[in-house]
Structures are given as C-alpha cells and as structure tokens.
C-alpha cells in the first residue's frame, strides 16, 4: 500500500470521526486546523485506523504523532 492510498483511507475515517464530509486531511494537517480534532476524537481516529489497517500502534509511536503525515509514515513502516 502506498502513501496516497493510506491518506485516502484516513480521509474517509477522518470524515466519519470528525463528522464533517468536507474535511480534507493532508500530510501536514494538525489538530490546529481541524476544529473537532480533540482528545476524544484523536483516540477514535487512532482506534479506527488500527481497525482499518489491522495494525496496533505502540505508545512510543503514538507519542510522535504531530500530524497526519506522521500517522501515514507509521502505517507504512508496519
């Protein structure tokens, strides 16, 4: 799976989690650009990503997620 496909799938998850069909998440997107990206939806987002991609994030990986790009890179590394 390449970066673009992963990003596309994260966008689908993000629209559901943030309950906003117009959301476009890019690699540089952080919580500062998405109003509803808070501590609750953050965990929902990671939970849904884990299920979608059949992976588990470690605590050390979670600690490094500053933006969508870092989540994508982590999925790619697994």
């Amino acid at each position: 799976m390449n970066k673009e496909t992963i990003l596309e799938q994260i966008n689908v998850i993000g629209r559901d989690v943030f309950d906003d069909e117009s959301i476009v998440l890019s690699e540089s997107t952080t919580a500062n650009e998405v109003e509803d990206w808070d501590s609750i939806t953050h965990v929902q987002l990671l939970f849904s990503i884990e299920k979608q991609f059949g992976i588990k994030f470690t605590s050390a990986e979670i600690a490094k997620f500053k933006n969508i790009g870092e989540i994508v890179a982590c999925i790619l590394s697994k």
Partner: protein
C-alpha cells in the same frame, strides 16, 4: 515565573491535540489556580534538580505518560477492559520497572495542575473538610503523593492535630516529603494491610488508590478498621480510566458506591464529574473517564 504557560507552549509543539485541550482547559481557570500551578511547578523544578533533571524533562515524561494513556484507551475501547489484570502485572509493567516508573512518576506530577479535574475534586475536599475542623485530632493519609489534600488539611484543621502518612513506595514517600511544606508529619513506609497504629483515626484520606488494587472492598475494609467509629474517610477513584497501572475497573459511579457499601461504609456527601467537558450521553458513548470523590462514614 510563568511556568504553566511555558509548559503548555512546549506541549503544543510536540502534541498539538493535547496542546489545544490544555489551552482551552487552563484558559478557563482563575488567576489563583494559575498562581498555585506556577508555585507547584517551581517546587517540581527544585525536586527535579535533585536528580539533575529540569522542567523540559518533566514535559517529556508527561508526553510519554499521555501516549501510554492513549494506547490504553484505544485498547479499552476495543475490549471494555483494562490491560493490567493483577497487582503482579502492575508490578512487572510499572512499579518494578525503573525506566517506566521514572517517567510515569514525573508525568503524574506534571499532570497535577495540567488535568483540571484534579482541582475540582480538590475544591470538593476543601469545601467539605472544614465541617470536621473541631472533630479531627488524628489525620491519616494513605499515599499522599505531592500532598494536595494533606497540605490543605494542615491549614484547615485544628493546630493540635496529629498527621501521619503511610505509603508502600519509598519513591512516592520521598515525593511527599519534598512537596509537603509542613514539617511535623510522621511518614511511614509500610503496607497499609500491615499498619498497626497505636490509636485509631478521626479522619483518613485515600486519593486514587482503589483502582490500583485487585480487591477494593478488602482495602476499604482494612482502612475502615483504622477509623474511629465516628470517624470520616475521604476517598477518590476514577471510573473508566485506563492507565498502565489501573487494575480494578469501575464502570461508573454506582460501581464505586457498591464497593463502599459492601465494605461496611456509607456515603455522606459525594462529587462526580467527567474528565472531559461533554454531555452524559457522549461520555457514555465514548467511555469517558469519571472522577469520583466522597466523604464516607461507617454504616
């Protein structure tokens, strides 16, 4: 010195999601809260210096602890259970794991003024302990941490009150000694199950301990046995709060009340609030943690 603002800026760079939350939550607090937080972080810096650490180290530890909480929360959403099942598990993962214990301890200290719900429970304690002012001559705290409760008790209760602190962890006891200003407090390193005081207590405080044991009823019964017949026990405990060393899962406030009743105690007055600013429906849906505090008497 505005340590609080510095800390939030640093956290927001490393963890924008949490930075956003802190700006919102701390922004709502009074200047008095911010002053107390800055005073606390000043004490934390002095404490950290003893082991050649600084505030940046505290922030890094806090962020690691937060990532652990997020990971545990994800697992909790999936299974509805805590991942640590026994005290032996908690010992292996945390208490007997020096690397984890080190960042966890510093992270928890930092959280005292970054997690504002701690302050709401503290205000509940302060607002109600004053009613016991003339009745408390012997005060015991089990696991005093940085001394949020006992420090206030020493200011509010009568001047001839005797203060004892019992803790099972030498590290935690050292933290208490470093953070609590009052000097004539008796610190005892012992397991509460083995503690045999010469005289029972009028008031006992036990904050956030019940969720760390396998059998909270047995612990409450043990603590109640150290209380005079008309004595008061103040407890706090979280429900739905996954963490690497939380063992006993209270699913809601009623679960905690049930344990209290089964231990032969009754609630005099209680306070419960979700740690996120959400409606009860959303809290239920997303299993948001709830903080519970109560003043208890023997039945």
């Amino acid at each position: 010195m505005n340590y609080l603002e510095d800390i939030i800026i640093k956290i927001a760079v490393e963890n924008p999601v949490h930075g956003k939350k802190l700006k919102k939550n701390i922004g709502k607090q009074t200047q008095e809260y911010k002053n107390k937080a800055n005073e606390f972080f000043g004490t934390y810096i002095d404490f950290a210096k003893k082991s050649d650490k600084d505030l940046d180290y505290g922030v890094a530890c806090y962020l690691r602890m937060l990532a652990d909480v997020n990971q545990e929360y994800i697992a909790f959403l999936e299974t509805g259970e805590y991942t640590t099942k026994s005290f032996e598990d908690a010992n292996r993962r945390v208490y007997n794991n020096p690397e984890v214990m080190e960042y966890y301890m510093h992270g928890l200290l930092m959280s005292q003024y970054l997690w504002v719900h701690h302050n709401d429970i503290y205000k509940f304690f302060v607002g109600n302990i004053i009613a016991y002012k003339n009745d408390v001559k012997r005060y015991l705290e089990i696991g005093a941490g940085h001394g949020m409760y006992i420090s206030e008790a020493t200011k509010l209760l009568s001047s001839d009150t005797v203060y004892d602190v019992v803790d099972i962890s030498p590290t935690s006891l050292e933290i208490s000694k470093s953070f609590i200003a009052k000097k004539d407090i008796n610190y005892m390193l012992t397991d509460i199950y083995e503690y045999e005081p010469s005289e029972k207590y009028d008031f006992i405080t036990m904050g956030e301990v019940l969720e760390h044991v396998e059998d909270p009823i047995s612990l409450l019964k043990c603590v109640a046995s150290l209380l005079k017949d008309d004595g008061t026990l103040f407890i706090t405990a979280p429900a739905n709060a996954p963490a690497i060393d939380h063992i006993y899962l209270f699913k809601n406030a009623q679960d905690i009340r049930d344990v209290i009743t089964k231990a032969g105690l009754k609630v005099e007055i209680e306070h419960a609030e979700y740690v996120e600013d959400v409606s009860p429906e959303i809290a239920e849906q997303f299993k948001i943690a709830l903080m519970y505090g109560a003043f208890l008497k023997k039945q």
